[in-house]
């Protein structure tokens, strides 16, 4: 465990997590994500497992560290989707994480983005389908320009995940980054196996020492995107 003084904190893209920035005894800055409870406040002394501490990359302004941390889970999810320029993407979910992911999809050259999300979260430039409507995959497919290359399941439940497998194009990727409440009975043959899909299962808010290098690289790139105005955190 490492003792740190909390310098700043902010809600992460998932309401269950908070992002923190703190300093250790040598005034070195670290960032970390932690569950919402127990809440630590500025200047609190906290002990954090060393494995959860993320360094501040040398070429990143310290005052932006918390913003970068807030964007990092979305960055990870988007990376798992393996987008290419011209891809079509369907995002399932409509929270902050989904919005950040949508921004990154655009940055990575996605041709179009559909959002299957809760009502009231519609973004003007996306195709939008209400999540609570109980839509069948065929209905969504009819409304999309094409089968999406990637479907990112950031919300919803088992129904939406299984629908995502049906909707995704052959050889596409389905990212499941939301906890599904129950274990599934799933026939992997018709979609995953036969159509060559990839399912990337991940928890974007959980990480370990092996992710530190990826964090540093991501933080530098997100910082660049903010500098270029391609990602606008102040809009949120």
């Amino acid at each position: 465990m490492t003792e740190l003084v909390v310098r700043d904190s902010a809600a992460a893209a998932d309401s269950r997590y908070l992002g923190y920035v703190g300093e250790d005894a040598h005034q070195i800055s670290w960032a970390w994500l932690a569950p919402e409870s127990p809440l630590a406040r500025t200047d609190d002394r906290v002990e954090v497992p060393g494995a959860e501490l993320l360094p501040c990359p040398a070429d990143v302004p310290r005052d932006r560290l918390l913003t970068l941390l807030a964007y990092w889970p979305a960055w990870r999810v988007t990376a798992w989707a393996r987008l290419e320029i011209g891809s079509g993407v369907l995002i399932v979910g409509s929270g902050t994480l989904a919005k950040q992911v949508a921004e990154f999809c655009r940055c990575r050259g996605a041709l179009w983005r559909g959002v299957w999300g809760a009502s009231g979260t519609r973004d003007g430039e996306d195709l939008w389908f209400p999540l609570s409507g109980g839509q069948q995959p065929s209905e969504i497919l009819r409304a999309l320009p094409a089968r999406p290359d990637s479907v990112l399941v950031l919300g919803g439940g088992a129904h939406e995940f299984i629908a995502a497998l049906t909707i995704c194009r052959d050889l596409g990727t389905v990212v499941v980054a939301t906890p599904l409440a129950t274990a599934l009975d799933l026939n992997l043959y018709p979609d995953v196996h036969r159509r060559g899909l990839t399912i990337h299962a991940g928890s974007p808010f959980e990480y370990g020492p092996a992710d530190r290098e990826a964090w540093s690289q991501a933080a530098r790139r997100i910082n660049t995107l903010i500098d270029l105005g391609l990602v606008a955190p102040w809009k949120q």
Binding site: W80, V176, D185, N187, Y189, D191, A201
Partner: protein
């Protein structure tokens, strides 16, 4: 007027029958395996048209069962997108027998194609791939499964040094394990069947794990890549267990049902990627050069076989006749079945071996006339596949018992030899062997020898008949191959040589084990000086022959007790079995035996002849050797031979390996090297092709009469030594000249 009407009617009738016959022109009749409904399999006749533009017609040699898929279709399991009746099979090797215009392949070429279990197949030529030379038919027949496994391994993007766990040791899993190793993975093959794990070990897989006994160990694997090749829908749970953080899990086996209570939080916690790897997403040909298409993957697999970088022989669990299909699939359906690869051998003589020809207009006319006059249809058209140079040595088989079946199968696939006549006192045996080949059959050797369609004879009779029949055949001007041993006495050998010399024909003995790939490679290495001067050889041979063998042979096809008697067999295990090894060890050493000391015993008393022999001998070069052979061994067979020299040592069997102070062929000096992945032997076919080459092209005979006589001399001297309890000098061989033809 009446005559004119009659004439018109006759002409009309003739025209109609000619047209009927023309409809049959170019139709080939073949046999195929069919699933009529779930759990019901049979072999049925079908008709196939002649190849059109850019098409080829092939005659199948071997087809391999893809056990997972075909078992699922046979049983009508979940996730099987096929309807009955269904013709199973997707991987075969065969010979091109007819070519349509524009096709790039040639008649006589050996090709792989993703075709069904059928004796004949017509394909677009783009869907067939020429098999490179040096690739055994057995390996080539598995190419479709190799394609599936390669695709899965490719999807895994294995980095050198990564840990790869392969779940399932069926045919796809076995091939995937080897390919993952070739890609640089450190592989552990996982299965619940100890038998299949043994196969994986025999194929050189780094590590195996029995999932039933060591299930807890799965969690400790922390694999970078897990390849799920069981097809069991519940196995994905084990895949997640075996996977390390961030691993790729490749779904290679088609799962036959629903994965129950799949807990994705485990997958999320480990950040796993599940990647489907069905081959339907792979393009057939290369839309862009370099694309990993079906063709490129199959060509890669065949090339890996040609380079001996894959081991397939231990994968073969069963080789079945096509008419055993019903039994084969019933066996595969049993849960306890542990087969890995099962092959249908279409080269075994049977009704499915009917061949095809493009029917000539004259023959069409004759067929029409026969129909018109009510003589019934002409016999099915038969012609032999065209050889590349059109020259074929036509064999007559004398003796159609046990070993003749193997020889007939080899001759059917030989590139420059074929069967035109079969004779046996038991005419039913001759008829059976000739069936479907277009060969004549008879109970009379004289009739065979009188036939102008016979260039050479293969004598596969009790040993004591070799000499008189060989002499008779030579006198009839036929070239002669006798099954091993050459004869029962040295005097008979000399009679045979004398008869061949007088008639100017080639005489050889079917010591075909020289064509065992291990022996061939050993000879190559010895020729390169691997061992320096050879100092010694050691032969250990043991197997069990029970009472049935001595009464009826291995199969009972031609039941007789001739093997049990010295008068008809010439001896026991030494002349019957160990003669093969004596021959090829002498060939490796490059020297005949000069003197021998032997003891024999008959422990079992099942036959008059010896069941055990032990002998020491000195070659003419001064090297010494020992032989220990028995047909009374309890337990697994023993088959171990080795050679030592003043620079190193070499073990020929069961696995070719060697140690030398010299670097030869890039094999580093001073360490052991094992040569694995040699092609499965096609010894008999290669022997006959070499013999045909000797007759047709004047090439060296595969085994000269002098060499075979030298083996006989050693055997006869060993028997004399055992009887007289002293060391005996071996009679010097009477050196023949030329290519083995004794003139």
């Amino acid at each position: 007027m009446a005559v004119r009407d009659l004439s018109l009617r006759l002409r009309s009738k003739l025209k109609r029958h000619l047209l009927d016959a023309l409809d049959q022109r170019g139709l080939a009749r073949g046999f195929q395996v069919e699933f009529r409904r779930a759990g019901e399999c049979e072999i049925r006749q079908f008709e196939e048209g002649m190849p059109g533009p850019d098409e080829i017609l092939t005659e199948t040699v071997l087809s391999a069962i893809s056990p997972g898929t075909e078992r699922a279709v046979y049983l009508g399991l979940h996730n099987v997108p096929f309807d009955y009746p269904y013709v199973p099979g997707s991987s075969q090797v065969g010979r091109v027998v007819a070519v349509g215009g524009g096709a790039k392949l040639q008649a006589g070429q050996i090709v792989f194609a993703a075709g069904p279990h059928a004796s004949l197949c017509r394909y677009p030529s783009a869907r067939a791939i020429a098999v490179p030379s040096g690739v055994a038919f057995e390996g080539a027949a598995m190419t479709s499964m190799g394609f599936v496994a390669l695709h899965g391994v490719r999807k895994a993007s294995i980095e050198a040094g990564e840990r790869v766990a392969v779940l399932g040791c069926g045919l796809i899993g076995q091939l995937a394990s080897q390919l993952a190793q070739l890609a640089g993975g450190e592989v552990v093959a996982i299965a619940t069947s100890p038998e299949r794990l043994e196969v994986a070990k025999a194929c050189g897989v780094n590590r195996v794990l029995d999932a039933r006994r060591e299930h807890a160990a799965l969690a400790g694997l922390r694999a970078d890549v897990v390849i799920e090749a069981t097809g069991n829908p519940e196995a994905v749970q084990d895949a997640a267990l075996a996977a390390g953080h961030g691993a790729r899990v490749i779904l290679l086996g088609s799962s036959r049902g629903v994965s129950r209570t799949l807990d994705l939080t485990i997958w999320q916690g480990k950040q796993l990627r599940m990647i489907g790897a069905h081959v339907r997403t792979v393009p057939v040909s290369d839309p862009i050069p370099g694309t990993w298409s079906w063709r490129r993957e199959c060509e890669t697999f065949l090339e890996l076989l040609a380079q001996h970088r894959l081991i397939v022989t231990p994968l073969i669990s069963r080789r079945a006749r096509p008419d055993e299909a019903s039994r084969v699939f019933a066996d595969l359906a049993r849960p306890e079945d542990k087969s890995v690869a099962v092959l249908f051998d279409w080269s075994v003589p049977g009704p499915w071996t009917a061949r095809v020809e493009m029917v000539s207009p004259l023959r069409v006319a004759v067929a029409g006339l026969r129909k018109m006059v009510g003589r019934g249809p002409a016999p099915p058209p038969v012609c032999l596949p065209k050889r590349s140079d059109g020259r074929v040595l036509r064999f007559g088989l004398i003796g159609c018992g046990e070993i003749a079946v193997e020889s007939a199968a080899a001759l059917r696939v030989a590139g420059n030899a074929t069967i035109t006549f079969a004779a046996d006192p038991n005419v039913e045996l001759a008829r059976g062997l000739a069936a479907g080949t277009g060969a004549r059959h008879s109970g009379s050797v004289e009739e065979l020898l009188a036939s102008r369609e016979v260039d050479a004879v293969l004598i596969s009779t009790p040993h004591h008949l070799h000499a008189p029949l060989a002499a008779q055949a030579a006198e009839a001007g036929k070239h002669v191959v006798v099954e091993k041993p050459m004869a029962t006495t040295l005097r008979d050998c000399d009679r045979m040589i004398d008869a061949a010399r007088r008639s100017g024909v080639v005489l050889s003995v079917c010591y075909c084990q020289r064509y065992d790939p291990r022996v061939q490679r050993a000879r190559h290495l010895l020729d390169r000086g691997l061992l320096g001067d050879i100092r010694g050889t050691r032969i250990a041979f043991g197997q069990y022959r029970g009472p049935e063998y001595w009464k009826a042979g291995l199969t009972g096809r031609a039941a007789s007790d001739w093997r049990s008697k010295g008068e008809t067999a010439g001896g026991g295990v030494l002349i019957m079995n160990a003669c093969h090894i004596l021959d090829y060890m002498g060939w490796l050493v490059g020297s005949p035996v000069a003197e021998v000391t032997a003891v024999t015993a008959n422990f079992s008393g099942l036959a008059e002849v010896e069941d055990s022999v032990s002998m020491s001998y000195r070659y003419t070069t001064g090297a010494i050797g020992t032989l220990d052979a028995t047909t009374g061994l309890v337990g697994p067979d023993t088959y171990e031979q080795s050679v030592r020299g003043d620079e190193g040592q070499l073990v020929v069997t069961p696995v070719l390996r060697f140690w030398s102070r010299r670097t030869v062929d890039g094999y580093e000096a001073g360490r052991w090297h094992a040569v694995r992945g040699l092609p499965r032997a096609a010894e008999r076919r290669q022997f006959f092709e070499a013999f045909a080459g000797a007759v047709l092209d004047g090439q060296p005979a595969p085994v000269t009469a002098a060499e075979a006589r030298a083996v006989q001399a050693t055997i006869e001297s060993a028997y004399r030594s055992a009887g007289e309890q002293r060391t005996v000098s071996v009679a010097s061989p009477d050196e023949p000249s030329g290519n083995g033809a004794v003139e």
